[in-house]
């Protein structure tokens, strides 16, 4: 499961929707195995497009769960036009690319901070199914 996907996933339990603690899920850093896939090519246009939809505070939380506390505290504000990106902005985008799209959690577990339900990631695929008493 790519790091970017952690920014999309909340707890499946609908009762948790009224809580602010159902997103992002809390990742257990000691049990998450990370892999980098450098074959995934850098496409600044796509990242610029997706940046709007990213919840930065959730990126920071999940990165910290997984042991990375070096991210900027605020979402980078970038020039929308790819051709006008400064060198510094290019570097930021490349770092984002490495984090969001090249980094995957191949094995691991995560928990809803509201209800405490635990979800697993096996072979890169997160399993978000629920037992009957939570469904």
């Amino acid at each position: 499961m790519k790091f970017l996907t952690t920014n999309f996933l909340k707890c499946s339990v609908s009762a948790c929707d009224i809580s602010n603690d159902n997103f992002p899920l809390q990742y257990d850093g000691s049990k998450c195995k990370l892999v980098q896939n450098e074959d995934i090519e850098f496409r600044p246009e796509f990242l610029l497009n997706i940046l709007d939809r990213i919840e930065w505070s959730a990126i920071l939380q999940v990165a910290a769960d997984l042991g990375n506390t070096s991210l900027p505290p605020n979402k980078p504000k970038l020039n929308i036009n790819v051709d006008e990106l400064t060198e510094e902005e290019q570097i930021i985008l490349r770092d984002l690319h490495t984090l969001l799209l090249q980094t995957s959690i191949v094995e691991g577990e995560m928990k809803c901070k509201n209800c405490g339900h635990v979800y697993y990631i096996k072979n890169s695929i997160p399993n978000l199914l629920l037992p009957p008493h939570l469904a």
């Binding site: 499946s12 890169s124 037992p131 469904a135």
Partner: protein, 435 residues
């Protein structure tokens, strides 16, 4: 404005028009379809320039090609006369005068093999075009195309002579060859629910899947639509309640393997084992396109999370294995219960109305029996405009691609959620051969 000749396939007719309109809309091209004829593979269009013609056709699956229109006639004499009397003929001639060129022959409705000598004789009749450029069969700058149409004279024979001939200069071939690239026969990972390449690509075109956007298939199965969406440049994600489908059979037979095979790894975001009706995608996430083939109980049953008989599961949440809650263990397999098709379709529409951007598209497939005397009731949502209802007919049943556009809260369109739309169970009808 310049006249162009559009040459389309003569099949999947309701899809053909929807694809044409959707691609025109995607590239902001105004087309007038007043003379569009379902019975004909040809359409003459006024477009601003070659660029528009290229955009209109370059990703089309149900068009064959588009040509700069030079003329037509019911026989070669009339064709030559029509070409030379055409508006703007001199300008077209001058424009192409010194370019390298070649001629191509196409036929529709019959296939009367021409010998090389016949072809050269026909080409020589075009001496009046005064083409000065070299002939180049490999990389010609201009490809002049003759399309001959033949008529059926009885149920198994076509006319010997062409009944109509079109002539034009090739501007853009369509992307019909993508059908072969994505042919299921060659795909590493597939299953019984995999969707054929032609109509999965067409579905993406009608749903206007665009580069750099997010596409989601909530019933991903073996990922046929994800592959098609990735081909059009979207970042694709899928989910399925059945983890076996998306996991595949070991490392070399799964959805990611298909993306590697097509060299589109960077288009693939993730697949998740998830019940669509207990969705884990955060509700404020904007999803540009939703495309799916929901389960209808033929190959896959309609199931959601939960217990069919909840009393049987009372207290089971307290069961522990080795001091650990059973339902929190990695190997726990949750129970599923049957769900109604009507409710599932209502859920899809509601989900789409919440997640699609304004003007974003939802497209999904729905099967119906052909012989039912009752009208097929298409699910409707007050925020979604039903844009297309494309039908693919089989012998006793058909399936439709329903395409909706999110128009937002102010749209106030007709709705029918919560009502019982399907009077008979499609699955039961299917397995009793519609008797």
């Amino acid at each position: 404005m310049t006249k162009y000749l559009l040459y389309m396939v003569q099949m999947h007719l309701t899809f053909r028009r929807a694809e044409l309109e959707s691609l025109a809309d995607l590239y902001n091209i105004k087309i007038n379809l007043d003379s569009y004829d379902e019975q004909s593979p040809f359409l003459i269009l006024d477009l601003e320039n070659d660029k528009q013609a290229q955009n209109l056709v370059k990703r089309s699956i149900l068009c064959k090609a588009i040509y700069e229109y030079w003329g037509e006639g019911e026989n070669y004499d009339k064709l030559h006369e029509n070409i030379q009397n055409g508006d703007g003929y001199e300008g077209r001639k001058l424009n192409c005068k010194s370019n390298t060129f070649k001629f191509e022959f196409e036929s529709f409705g019959g296939n009367h093999k021409k010998t090389m000598k016949d072809k050269i004789n026909t080409i020589n009749q075009f001496a009046y075009l005064e083409l000065d450029g070299e002939i180049d069969l490999k990389n010609a700058q201009d490809t002049y195309t003759l399309i001959e149409t033949y008529d059926l004279i009885n149920s198994h024979e076509t006319s010997k002579m062409a009944s109509h001939i079109y002539f034009g200069r090739l501007i853009q071939r369509s992307d019909r060859s993508a059908m072969d690239v994505f042919d299921l026969k060659k795909r590493p990972y597939k299953g019984t629910t995999s969707f054929e390449s032609e109509l999965s690509l067409v579905s993406c075109n009608i749903a206007q899947v665009k580069p750099g956007t997010i596409m989601y298939d909530p019933f991903a199965g073996t990922g046929s639509f994800l592959v098609a969406g990735g081909y059009y440049g979207a970042l694709v994600m899928g989910s399925d309640i059945d983890g076996r489908m998306i996991r595949g059979k070991g490392a070399s037979y799964d959805i990611t393997e298909n993306f590697k095979y097509y060299k589109m790894e960077q288009q693939f975001l993730d697949v998740m084992t998830m019940d669509f009706t207990h969705n884990s995608l955060r509700s404020n996430l904007i999803i540009d396109t939703i495309l799916c083939d929901p389960p209808y109980g033929i190959r896959e049953s309609i199931k959601v999370l939960g217990a069919r008989d909840p009393t049987k599961f009372e207290g089971k949440e307290d069961i522990e294995i080795n001091g650990e809650k059973a339902f929190l263990r990695k190997d726990y397999i949750p129970t599923k219960k049957p769900y109604s098709l009507d409710s599932l379709l209502d859920d899809i529409l509601q989900f789409a109305s919440e997640r699609l951007p304004i003007n974003g598209r939802l497209a999904f497939w729905m099967p119906t029996a052909n012989d039912e005397n009752v009208e097929t009731i298409i699910p409707l949502h007050e925020n979604l405009e039903l844009k297309y209802d494309c039908v693919q007919e089989f012998n006793k049943w058909s399936r439709r691609l329903l395409v909706y556009i999110n128009r937002g809260d102010e749209f106030n369109g007709p709705e029918n959620h919560g009502t019982k739309r399907s009077t008979t169970n499609f699955r039961d009808r299917y397995f009793t051969n519609f008797n």
